[in-house]
Symmetry: C2
Subunit: 449 residues, 2 copies
């Protein structure tokens, strides 16, 4: 069982809505340009900070088509956005999504290290691989990396970034004016790496932050994705539909972490969930149903269905014929998602129209109800060993205010959630250890030997 | 002659000092960790904004050795830094240096577009190519790009970034809740580019800012560097020692711009200069001399001498023998600088020691004196057609305060410099036009034909 005081809460900030959300921008509470308005994000981050959330969480993607949901079409780049939020907040963690598929380890290391210093040790990196095949074209590649390549590359990338983050030991800068010593050169360590996917020679030109290194979040539910999480993830972003599924997933992730020689307590499973709070459970379900109606859009859902299959154009098929045979389509792209759709169509013998309707049908989130209900369900998932916390997606500011004003106090009262921040860093608040600089560890080991 | 009201002023923010500055960190006014402390930058940027400066300017480099100057060893990444400054300021422009040698056009376009929106249209990109040969190793390349490659790549890179910035026309997002129209897909334009250095297929996923596109600054004094400036530079960062040299340089840049079919009024020459203000001219020269003594460091200067030659190790040579014959060394690196050093040694018949002493000798800046003197010299350079403004490097906050409190009022009184910002965008304040979206221009042309 996990520590009951330590429910972790993150706020997923999506200006005009998440992946399936074609209608959020029509809500009068959400400005149509929320996804590109830093003031909108500052307001949401400050509200989450007042509610003592551990972090805000910025998802990302790069390739778009005209059918992409509004938030995808037009959004701020996560690192520049988070840096702005860093100086507009004081305690809340700042987690940004960045793909390992096309950016260089040196650049990624440098940008996150800079965010980490700017925020006083509150940065986190949500490591993803690029699922959209079209992304290859944005970066001048002929073909998208296949699944195995992407995950091998991701692991090598993250480990390299972490080595670069340790370029300076924590006592590297004596800055001794009397003796005229700014740097102790014995505490500067160049990376010298030749691997399967990357070569890097040289040190990073920035010191470590008060939390040592940014926290590594990781998302990806496939076998390779889970293994990457077990190897390097300190926070795991996932989606699970029930306590049982959540517990099985969490147990699996913790076991994989142990197999990688890690302490399972340093792997926090924090699923992304939708929350709706109402006066009663019925009221909340009615709000959820209204959101479902706002988001419904058959034509866009048909276009979106192509995404996990490399933006395959389903409109060429008869809507009322059986779901088409797609062969290996999707294997290079969002494979877990593509496989699930193929299986659904096959097992239930659905037409294309039925698949679109099933996929785009309003979801019933387990986390919908009165404040008491939501707090109770949160606690059941936590006590049931299914989660270490939640990354919460709440549609509107007024809904977020209900969560903060009604649900959070219950969680605080019952001892599940903090009343005040424990620390100034993201690691400190999440209860994750500060990784000691590897070169300092090595020197101590050499001295002891 | 240039518009006398339009002296442009930029503040070059270097926490613990510029390239040759080994001693700034010892100054009691400058915190030893200024280069990694966002609060330090916020203070300096706000002081520059109070003085109605056009912009702050962040220089950059990536490769370091233990002998690099303090500011190089440990610094914030420019884009994350500027994004933090964007929400801590209101009117001042935010110009960041980023090399075209190793970052992908899509990433560069996205990050600057994001900064431009976050700041409400105050972003500028100082385009450079990477001179340090060691940079290649940071990005897994065997060999540094040679000089011609670097500049060909830079031109193609910038033009691609500018095309990506025009992915959305300004009326692309009707966000019409009644009709349910978020995007007008006819106003979204994918780039489809196959060039010598880059291929990009797809649109950028972010709209234009109130200034249309970030302002392009460019630095590079060689023939290729100047031609790049003539082709794409709207602000030119340079170093010129006299009004005559400045006027020749500015005339040359403007002529190159005309040769590229551009209006020369859209190319602003804004040299980087050191300024010292004293009670009298003698007092100011004494302060400058003290700075020179603070910075003097023969051993580090010897190591630094290697930088333009690809970090060649001069310590292997006899200090009192004639300056060594270096052949083509430096051609791939900081070529203009390397050639100048070779020429200096050859023409004056200097030993290695004498070259180091000459290079590292305290500079006498033309912009040192009483407030009246500095204001007069500024005005002479402006009226003499040598500059459109200055990027000012001032060593300490108290020196900056003297400039702001004593020199700026004289420049305002004589009508050379603004009393209030003219606009909310960097383009508006610099007097540069807002580039119309190319696709809107093309459609209008097609309709008129």
């Amino acid at each position: 069982m996990t520590d009951r005081r330590r429910l972790r809460l993150g706020a997923v900030l999506v200006g005009t809505g998440g992946p399936g959300s074609h209608g959020a921008w029509k809500d009068p509470e959400i400005p149509g340009d929320a996804s590109v308005d830093v003031r909108w994000y500052v307001e949401q981050a400050r509200a989450a900070e007042r509610a003592r959330f551990d972090h805000v969480f910025i998802v990302d993607s790069q390739f778009i088509t005209p059918d992409s949901p509004p938030h995808y079409l037009n959004r701020l780049e996560p690192l520049t956005l988070l840096s702005a939020l860093a100086v507009a907040t004081e305690r809340i963690g700042l987690i940004g999504t960045l793909s390992t598929s096309y950016d260089e380890p040196f650049s990624v290391a440098r940008r996150f290290a800079s965010l980490d210093l700017i925020s006083g040790g509150r940065a986190g990196w949500n490591v993803v691989t690029s699922g959209d095949e079209g992304t290859a074209g944005l970066f001048g590649r002929d073909q998208h990396l296949d699944y195995g390549q992407r995950y091998g590359r991701a692991l090598e990338h993250v480990r390299l970034v972490q080595r670069l983050w340790d370029s300076y030991e924590d006592d590297a800068f004596p800055r001794d004016r009397e003796r005229g010593v700014f740097l102790d050169p014995t505490r500067l360590h160049a990376v010298d790496h030749v691997g399967e996917h990357f070569r890097v020679h040289g040190p990073l030109n920035i010191q470590r932050s008060p939390q040592g290194q940014p926290v590594i979040f990781q998302a990806g539910d496939s076998d390779q994705g889970r293994d990457l999480g077990g190897a390097i993830g300190e926070g795991i972003f996932t989606h699970q539909g029930s306590i049982e599924a959540g517990r099985a997933f969490r147990d699996d992730l913790r076991a994989r972490a142990v197999a990688h020689g890690r302490d399972p307590e340093t792997v926090l499973v924090v699923p992304g969930i939708s929350v709706v709070v109402g006066d009663t459970d019925e009221d909340a379900r009615a709000i959820e149903a209204e959101i479902g109606r706002q988001d419904a859009d058959f034509d866009r859902s048909l276009a979106q269905l192509g995404r996990p299959f490399g933006w395959y154009d389903f409109s060429q098929h008869d809507l009322d014929a059986p779901f088409p045979e797609l062969g290996p389509l999707g294997d290079r792209s969002f494979k877990t998602n593509a496989d699930a759709i193929k299986r659904l169509a096959r097992e239930q013998g659905l037409t294309l129209r039925q698949v679109v309707e099933t996929i785009s049908a309003p979801k019933r989130s387990p986390f919908v109800g009165s404040a008491e209900t939501v707090a109770r369900i949160f606690t059941e998932w936590l006590d049931g060993g299914a989660v270490d916390g939640f990354n919460i997606h709440i549609r509107t500011p007024s809904q977020f205010a209900r969560f903060a004003d009604e649900v959070v106090p219950i969680l605080q009262e019952t001892g599940v959630f903090r009343r005040e921040y424990e620390a100034t860093t993201l690691r400190g608040n999440l209860g994750l250890p500060i990784p000691e600089n590897r070169h300092a560890v090595a020197r101590r080991a050499a001295l002891a030997a």
